[in-house]
């Protein structure tokens, strides 16, 4: 059930955003809502097409798809498409998103926003995205038009800050951008990525790239959870629990904590797991743990994002 406060915020933004935009916006407004003691993740509106279109003035680009591969291997129940677009003039920063202008029909019935998976420093002149499912039918050689959506709330922290990234499934997309960027500029802060999927053999998205970053030290820690690997199942929360003491240690030392999860329920579960870890390892009460997380949020150190189904927000 939606509280009056949520209704108010949602009503305010619904004047200019679509439903997809609202799904994205939960992260944007999470601080405000959470301070009122409510979960933003349940605050999404019911199916409802909202009016208004984003600003199209200065952020429309053309590009060409130079690579489109399904990252999942034979035997996987999933599809996750890695798409590389050649777009030399596109200006973006890690954390930004793009949406396609659906004049060619490739974007499907419900155009979506995708967090960018590439880094302007590491992938010069290119823009990569990670698309779950098969809704976006882009093939090599296709010409595309797209918009870039600035996302000032979701930026890399300063170079020297430590960063914990929790990116299950396609939620890894912006973190690939962050890691590539930090690797390219030689940022000194430590990086820790949690990734989860169904199957180690077929679903380990960007495995070789991540391994390289671990090898070179750009990625300080990489922990994974693959449900199929363990007879009793093994979830992202299990992986977080296993790393509990170290995680809390990083947070106490000022690490930033970013979550990017496609499903709201999963983001909520991660949030709850983090709270539980704080109660265990910092001997906090549940209330104190939740307050601690809220404080991280208001300090800008704790962000929850969604990789796709995103709204078109804050057009430059």
């Amino acid at each position: 059930m939606l509280s009056a406060a949520k209704h108010k915020i949602l009503e305010e933004i619904s004047a200019s955003f679509t439903r997809q935009e609202l799904i994205w916006a939960h992260g944007f407004i999470s601080g405000a809502l959470a301070r009122q003691g409510e979960s933003v993740l349940q605050a999404l509106p019911a199916e409802k097409k909202l009016s208004a279109t984003p600003d199209e003035r200065n952020n429309t680009y053309s590009g060409q798809v130079i690579s489109a591969i399904n990252l999942n291997d034979i035997g996987s129940a999933k599809e996750t498409h890695h798409i590389e677009i050649l777009a030399e003039d596109a200006l973006y920063e890690p954390g930004d998103a793009i949406s396609f202008i659906e004049e060619n029909g490739y974007a499907g019935d419900t155009p979506q926003c995708y967090l960018i998976a590439s880094s302007p420093e590491a992938h010069s002149g290119e823009l990569h995205i990670t698309v779950p499912g098969h809704g976006l039918a882009l093939q090599e050689g296709a010409s595309v038009k797209f918009r870039i959506h600035k996302n000032e709330q979701f930026r890399l922290p300063d170079d020297e800050k430590d960063l914990i990234m929790i990116g299950p499934g396609a939620g890894i997309a912006p973190f690939r951008s962050f890691l590539a960027q930090r690797d390219a500029v030689g940022a000194s802060g430590r990086n820790w990525l949690f990734f989860s999927e169904q199957n180690f053999v077929s679903d380990f998205l960007y495995q070789t790239e991540l391994q390289n970053w671990v090898e070179t030290g750009s990625l300080t820690k990489l922990n994974v959870a693959f449900a199929d690997d363990h007879e009793e199942g093994f979830s992202l929360s299990d992986a977080l629990f296993r790393q509990g003491p170290s995680l809390v240690e990083w947070l106490k030392n000022g690490a930033f904590l970013y979550i990017c999860a496609g499903e709201a329920a999963l983001a909520e579960e991660i949030n709850n797991t983090l709270a539980t870890l704080l109660t265990i390892h910092l001997r906090q009460s549940e209330t104190e743990a939740l307050a601690y997380l809220e404080e991280l949020k208001s300090d800008g150190r704790y962000r929850i994002e969604s990789p796709a189904s995103a709204p078109l927000m804050l057009v430059a």
């Binding site: 291997d73 053999v201 960007y206 495995q207 790239e209 391994q211 994974v224």
Partner: protein
Amino acid sequence: MSDNTNNPQDLSSNEKIKMSSNALRGTIAESLTDEITGNIRPDDQPLVRFHGMYLQDDRDRREERAAKKLERLYSFMIRLRLTGGFLSGDQWIALHHIAGENSTGTLKITTRQTIQLHGVLKTKAKPTVKAFNKAGLTTLATCGDINRNVICTAHPKQSPLHEQIFELAKEITAMLLPKTHGYYEIWLDSEKIADTKLEEDLLYQDRYMPRKFKIALAIPPNNDIDVFGNDLGLIAVIEKDKLKGFNIVIGGGMSSTHGNPEHYPRLASELGYVDVTKGKENLLKAVYEMLTIQRDYGNRADRKKARLKYTVDKYGIPWWKAELEKRAGFALEDIKPYTFNRRKDYYGWEQNHEGLWYYTVFVENGRVLDTDSLKLKQALLEAAETGKVNFRFTCNQNVIISDIKPEDKAQIQEILEKYKIIEHTNKASTIRANAMACVALNTCALALAESQRYLPSLLDKVEGLLEKHGLSDEEMIVRMTGCPNGCARPFIAEIGFVGTALGKYNMYIGGDRVGTRLNKLYKESLEEPQILGELDGFFAAFAKKRKKGQGIGDFLHQEYCQ
């Protein structure tokens, strides 16, 4: 002569890894818990072999997975130790289920009388070894620079003394196992050993053997185990149904390298005879000291020259005999006469001296699996589930359903008929029934060409040629490997094919029927049409010009290898 082969600075990298491995532990435990890769650390690769497994990858999938930003599809090949190829019915049932849950599901009978599983992911390796252990099975020291599976003439009908010789093989196995406790700690969660003195290894020390070491026990007149292809062969000498002793032959080995005359296949040489009528101690002592000599004198600088065969050629048989006598403390007698007259399995029903029944099933290239046309794996499971059979594997990669009491034979026969196993075994052509191929692609890292995935279709065509020349019932031993390391012993086939590149094979001809003469390289890098062309010519000449009773290997040797 002293241990002058190996200057410390010349030791191969494998030698250094072994010596600093803390009794073969290395960092295997850490490699297993590294969750971001299916691979293990480079220095653990040679060590994990001593634990019975090879880290491999699916070579068919490399390119596609690389494009998907996925690492190679790594998995383990895990090999059991089955001395003399014996497995109880209960163990077969356990193995059937372990293979189904943790591997590709195919049970591969090897060319050295054991079973290996392929496609075991790193996360499944430990559960697999644990499940084996629960069934009383081990993988310890089945690969690596150490004494491998001890093989022994497979069929109990070969001699009333089969059981006695088989027991001796088991004693040799036990005597030559490594003392490390690491296997139990890493795979079976045993507690760390308190006092490392308890695992002090007087035989292997901290360096193990320079290379693999293979032992075989043969009961003439069948040379089904290819005794001369082993580092150490023991040929039983039986008089009036009494085991008198063993002829010792040393220095056999198949592995070679294309174009490198320094790296060659070799048949074992006769060394001497050991009497066992007053006890087996001298024999065991001789076997043990054979390993210590090779341990001390084998080449540890160049792994290509590290097998016993090169040490034998370097020092010569007289020196070996003297050194062995010195270490063992007794004199070897002269070789006793022995004769081999066959080198193949006894397909179908056979009975041993006690009246127990045995059914030898033809298993093409040793691959036990269920297909649309043949449910071999299911049939063997049902046979095992009767509780009335054991299993024995042969070095020709077949399985003998074993030790069946006369009153139980009908029940087993019924299962074999139900699954058309008898029909399958009977209809295998003579050439196919005696053929062998190694694993090669897609999992063997050494493979240059296909082998077990290709030989069956090549034989389809060769069968046509044989029919054309009226030779369909002609016994001949044809073997294929995907590289010159020779796992399927192609260099002692009558006709051998050794891969040089995809679709290309060197052709070797002129080995003898019983495995006492190496064949010779006839032509290089032939493709299928050329292979069939050459065979067509051979078969035509053989049908026309052969002497009575002459085998094709002897014929080809006489006509083309002089």
